[in-house]
Symmetry: C2
Amino acid sequence: MMDGKIRRNHRVGWTMDIEARPPQTTQQYVLSQVRRAILTGKLAPGAPIRQDTLAEQLGVSRVPIREALKILEGEGQVTYRPRRGYVVAELALEDFLEVYRLRRILEEEAIRQTLGRITDEDVTRLEEAHAEVVRSSRIHDITAMAAANRLFHFTLFEAAGMPRLLRFLNILWDATDVYRSRYYSEESNRDRVDQEHLGIIEAVRARDADELVRRLNEHRDGTVATLREFITERQI
Amino acid sequence: MMDGKIRRNHRVGWTMDIEARPPQTTQQYVLSQVRRAILTGKLAPGAPIRQDTLAEQLGVSRVPIREALKILEGEGQVTYRPRRGYVVAELALEDFLEVYRLRRILEEEAIRQTLGRITDEDVTRLEEAHAEVVRSSRIHDITAMAAANRLFHFTLFEAAGMPRLLRFLNILWDATDVYRSRYYSEESNRDRVDQEHLGIIEAVRARDADELVRRLNEHRDGTVATLREFITERQI
DNA sequence: AAAATTTATTTTGGATCCAATATTAAGTCT
DNA sequence: AGACTTAATATTGGATCCAAAATAAATTTT
């Protein structure tokens, strides 16, 4: 085992793309980095998370690592067994379907609440998010598209003004982030998303709740059908 | 500030009632104690949580405290602001209503799933839980009744076999634990609960999903109506 | 050689120490 | 006195150190 001194290298030169100014606290920095590592597959599902290794890689001590891992545990992104440590959570087909089933219910609730109180500003932000989705879709920037897509949907969810519901939805979306990115890597899927978003915006503009719910369900079911295959083939 | 050595007194003589054998790790111990403190009102909503003080009281260092608080933050039991520390979460009327609204939706989903796969053993456990509710209700043991009541409902939720849904429900129940205990301190409320549980069991036995959902909603709405007043008077 | 046992190594959990920020108190100026 | 500035204190965040448990490797036993 190594035990050289910590260099806190993330304050100086760090090569990764986003993460412009480092977060307020180190744990937040660690949290975002571990999130990214899981998302990009650097930390693969089922892989144990060695605190020492991670600490060394990020140039921090183990303390902020542990606190960040506790948060991820709460979100179900990692699983924890006392004295055994943390493991990147695996998503069986069953779990995947549960996530989408819960999303269907909770998103309908959020959406209906939103439609009753949505402002023109919200609609504008929705359209802007959509524009960004299209833009990043065109240039094949999967990461940007995933982020923009999330912003698109959460613009609607946030407007509901239900913090716990929002938190649950975030957790559910996080759980399948990896797979969603895969979905966007197919051009046909990207085009489909763009198209469906248009229909969603239309329903929002018309303040037609039932139609909106219908379109969102359709939108969601489309991804589920495709992603199902990714999951099952991973299982083999 | 004091800084005497830690005595780890929770291994030896600790006066509190439950918590027979101490949990595997200190953070688990801390977690359960802080939970209890919030539940009993020792840590009142809005009150800042001083890590040093808490550490001294529990006879541990601040490290497990911090990890436990991170979990509670994830559950929304405490709020956190970097460099400012943790505060016991306050539940405004709005939040309270959100919790029950989400419970209504999620519990219906859990229940319907459960009814399709429930075993006779589950029903037996449900009846046992009910018996325990009645027993503790009779002897005016509010804490025991709250625990038994929770077991009663979660026997149904667990049988659904949906881990994320179960976790969400736990979070929602935790958020209003304090108020539910108050509800049970009224004898008439306790009797009402016992009665309604009988109806619920009946619907489960008959495998009548719609009837079960209806009864559960009624059951829930009853508490909401009463608890609403507790909340509003606290707000003043 | 395979199983069981012992020893060595790794890894986690917790305690203590130190630095940085936030909060409070004291002092200064108008 | 009230507002502003500066010093003192309290509190959090992070690093390091140590003990206990788990895992891996080596040894012994059958």
